[in-house]
Symmetry: C2
Subunit: 550 residues, 2 copies
């Protein structure tokens, strides 16, 4: 199966069994491989995914009439039922998705892939799907890691993937008001390219940046790597155009509004279960003339977090903050061996192997960057930090989008690998970190696969921070699902028990739906269901996600 | 009728026919009186409100059983049906409310005033009211200027005012996480007093600061005078406890969450039509050690707005921004004659009478204030601004909460006086200002009462700014309602035509409900109604406001 099998001149497809284009891999360094082989008890055997020809898909159940009506709506060339298209839309890029794909048995497949080219076409497709009782899974960049793209028909007779790649492009730029109107299917790199021409930026760089669509970011409340500075995507969204089976909504509040509840905030984060985001009005910023990222070593994660808290609350928040705990630092340094990443030498190098490394960065005008950097670094030094210079920052920047590539390599070596993430107050941070680490360690150890658990603060706020746990363990072959579920349940229960959020930036999807219900409470879930009944009365929109209805 | 007739040791009541405590008035300066007498063609006669004894109230329709059950819920001492209590809860403090009160004929009155003392008591009262078909108008500080407190029974047999003053106090302070948990009935000054003891501040100072409740601010998406720096109230709200006829909801997302749609943002701004906010989790800040406010003169409003835009987009937003157009500047200076406000002397004084005055201010640590001030002032100077020093800033600070007091004096002189407010993009600002000014001038001139229309930017954002129009005209006695409605409709239609928001900080209430529907669109209104049907199935919550249901 070739890359770039998507229609038209749209963005290239990712490899069906993993991350990235087929022509690009990021091999594991020998040092990291050795470290993991030893720590996790791996067998050193490399596992290839099955051949595409071996992938088995369920038979399409789409009725001929529904197919005809869909073709009448978007054109016959834009309703695909070939195996390749169905495989490429059979899920997102979560660990369970990839395990299933590599083994040749995706967890379901859409009965067709439909490519509308406008807001009106989306409305028309939703209307056909409601009439014909066909479930709809909106598909942006295809990067969900929480099962948000699982092709579940629910109570409908079939399920389509609604690929939004043809809804691409920037409608208008208001340079004076720093705002742009953009089609929701636009990929993040394409948007940044257009904005760069007029010296603007959205500044939204999630790990999935290379493939993610901007509408997908909005639908899942994405948070980028520089979001401590540029803000989360929800903070940049001032307006939204929304297509639902019950009709359309167009909400704008620029720059702010007190005209009742913010319905916009219900559409943002709705993950396709209420309708399809087709257009966005986004706040952008002047493109930074200057960027500096640098490394700071701390004797431990807790001390580093405290230093960051003090800086943030002193109006000294860097635009980029990535604080790794001791294990994560060690893994990161090991991964860079032999590659573009430079391990600090001498004194710093020795210390780095037992320290917590923070990458901090600033973007903007030169003077502003200099001043803000000085302010932050003064406080981090006072908090016990040792700056190790811009080489570490450059290494981070050069490899900032590689972690999903590395996951493929780890899976090939037989590793269970995932990230669970949450956020809480500064006061709640250490107890939460301890609780989740203990829960994951306990759950996986009891299965005979004691894990490595790394932890990272990737986003900081005045009131708290996010925590991202990286979980690595020897995969229990043919029982990956059970093993993963044990780890996920243990971590999620610990998060909910601590009163923290089940997701800071991955969203809910299928994997977190039960836990989100616990977070929202019965009346919160009831409110979302009431809203769904209003906008999607027949329950065709993305069944089984977010609120489990449908 | 005496002041402070509220129960217990709670906050004092405002005078029933106007703003503020009975022992405090802010007289009009002779200069401002002369200016307005001439410009508006006033007769110089002072009109007193009727005596309290002359106020006529409708007979209470609350059924004995409903009253009994309410008394059983909150205690007999906390259900008031006396005339004083009913008058004091018969509306908010909008122009139409005050016209009606001064004339002795409030636009309805609650059949009883009920004072619950806890979240559970609120839940119990709502349950009784749903069972007994009694409408509920939540009452915080009683400061609504958009008819949000109108005692409308709708389809219920009676209506109560639910006064939340006993839900007061700070539950907990998390100093490290800069967050506090507070009861919703807490008044803003009381909250700031508690926070001051631990060197914190919310920094939320709407014009109504002296009387407003923090839950009322949340329910109406209030914006304070320093919100360019501290943020709007909705940005400070991280969690909310909500009592509805269908049960309770407790939502917290600290510091941020991607767990689906932000239901919290539906409760914030819900204006009592879905339920009652009983508690809030708020982000606070370190109390500023240093505050500087100063005046800057510009040759015109448009140039000043442009200078502010450039400053804001260059990361040089002051914490306080109040830019008055030429007329508003002249009125402000005239109002200060003889008072604490100092009119600039000499060259600046002469220029001030034809200029646009901006008050800009910074709060925080001394070094940060100095640096930020230098940055902003450099850009404002470059944009044509002439700094006139801190005296103007001190004068502003000394009189920052006086405008509602002045309104009473103006009404006594027979002036129609109100503020209509909106917000839009920087690009849309001048067209919107021109359109609303023309609409107001046309509507009032055609009634034979040509107005003075002042305009102010009170809040700035990267993407745009708010606009507040002050309308002054000779009141058409006994036809104030018709006259006001003509002005309001003309301004609102111009705002909606321009694609701007019907409210940036006053909320929707009764006065803006029709216009908010136009802004939200049919499916948006339908979504809010679906939510109301879920949370308030019998329609007892604040009928006739926000979405006009009930």
């Amino acid at each position: 199966m070739g890359a770039g099998s998507g229609p038209g001149n749209g963005p290239a497809e990712m490899r069906w069994w993993g991350w990235g284009r087929e022509d690009h891999r990021v091999p594991l360094s020998a040092q990291l491989a050795r470290l993991l082989d030893g720590a996790l008890g791996l067998d050193g055997v490399m596992r290839d995914p099955v051949a595409a020809s071996e992938v088995a898909l369920p038979t399409s159940t789409l009725s001929p009439r529904a197919r005809q009506r869909l073709e009448a709506t978007v054109g016959g060339a834009w309703v695909h039922t070939d195996k390749t298209s169905r495989i490429l839309h059979s899920g997102g890029k979560g660990y369970l998705d990839l395990v299933a794909m590599r083994n040749g048995g995706p967890r379901g497949a859409p009965d067709a892939v439909v490519y509308p080219d406008s807001h009106d076409a989306v409305l028309a497709v939703l209307s056909v799907c409601a009439n014909e009782r066909v479930a709809v899974v909106p598909f942006g960049g295809g990067t969900s890691v929480v099962g948000g793209l699982a092709p579940i028909a629910g109570s409908q007779h079939a399920v389509i993937s609604l690929d939004l790649r043809r809804l691409a492009g920037v409608f208008s730029v208001d340079r004076r008001s720093l705002s742009v109107s953009v089609a929701a299917g636009t990929r993040a790199p394409a948007l940044e390219a257009v904005l760069a021409e007029v010296e603007l930026t959205l500044g939204h760089y999630p790990d999935s940046f290379e493939f993610v669509s901007i509408g997908g970011c909005a639908a899942t409340r994405s948070v980028g790597q520089a979001s401590s500075g540029y803000g989360r995507i929800d903070q940049a969204i001032h307006g939204v155009r929304f297509a639902t089976p019950a009709g359309e909504m167009s909400l704008a509040a620029l720059p702010a509004s007190a005209a009742g509840p913010a319905l916009r905030e219900l559409i943002v984060g709705s993950e396709g279960v209420l309708g399809v985001i087709t257009g966005l009005l986004l706040r952008v910023r002047a493109r930074p003339a200057h960027r500096i990222y640098e490394g700071v070593l701390f004797d431990g994660f807790e001390a580093a977090a405290e230093a960051l808290r003090i800086a943030v609350q002193d109006e000294a928040t860097p635009d980029v903050v990535r604080l790794s705990d001791e294990l994560q630092t060690r893994l990161w340094l090991a991964a860079g061996e032999g590659g573009g990443r430079r391990v600090p030498r001498g004194r710093h190098g020795r210390r780095a192997r037992t320290a917590a490394l923070a990458i901090v960065g600033w973007e903007g005008q030169r003077l502003s960057v200099q001043r803000r950097r000085l302010h932050t670094m003064t406080l981090l030094r006072r908090g016990g930090g040792t700056p190790i210079g811009e080489a570490a920052g450059r290494a981070w920047a050069a490899s900032r989008f590689t972690s999903p590539y590395l996951r493929d390599e780890l899976m090939a070596r037989g590793v269970l690998v995932d990230q669970f993430e949450t956020a809480t107050t500064w006061t709640g941070l250490e107890p939460l970190r301890a609780a989740v680490t203990a829960a994951l360690t306990g759950a996986l150890s009891s299965l005979g696969t004691p894990p490595l658990i790394g932890c990272q603060i990737a986003h900081v706020y005045e009131t708290g921070a996010s925590l991202t746990f990286t979980v690595l363990a020897r995969a229990l072959e043919h029982q990956e699902g059970l093993q993963w579920r044990a780890a996920k349940d243990a971590a999620s229960a610990a998060i909910i028990r601590a009163g923290a959020t089940i997701s800071h930036h991955h969203g809910v999807g299928r994997d977190n739906a039960g836990w989100a219900a616990a977070e929202l409470g019965p009346l919160g879930v009831g409110s979302l269901r009431a809203l769904k009944a209003q906008l999607d009365p027949l329950g065709v929109m993305n069944p089984g996600k977010l609120i489990l209805a449908g």
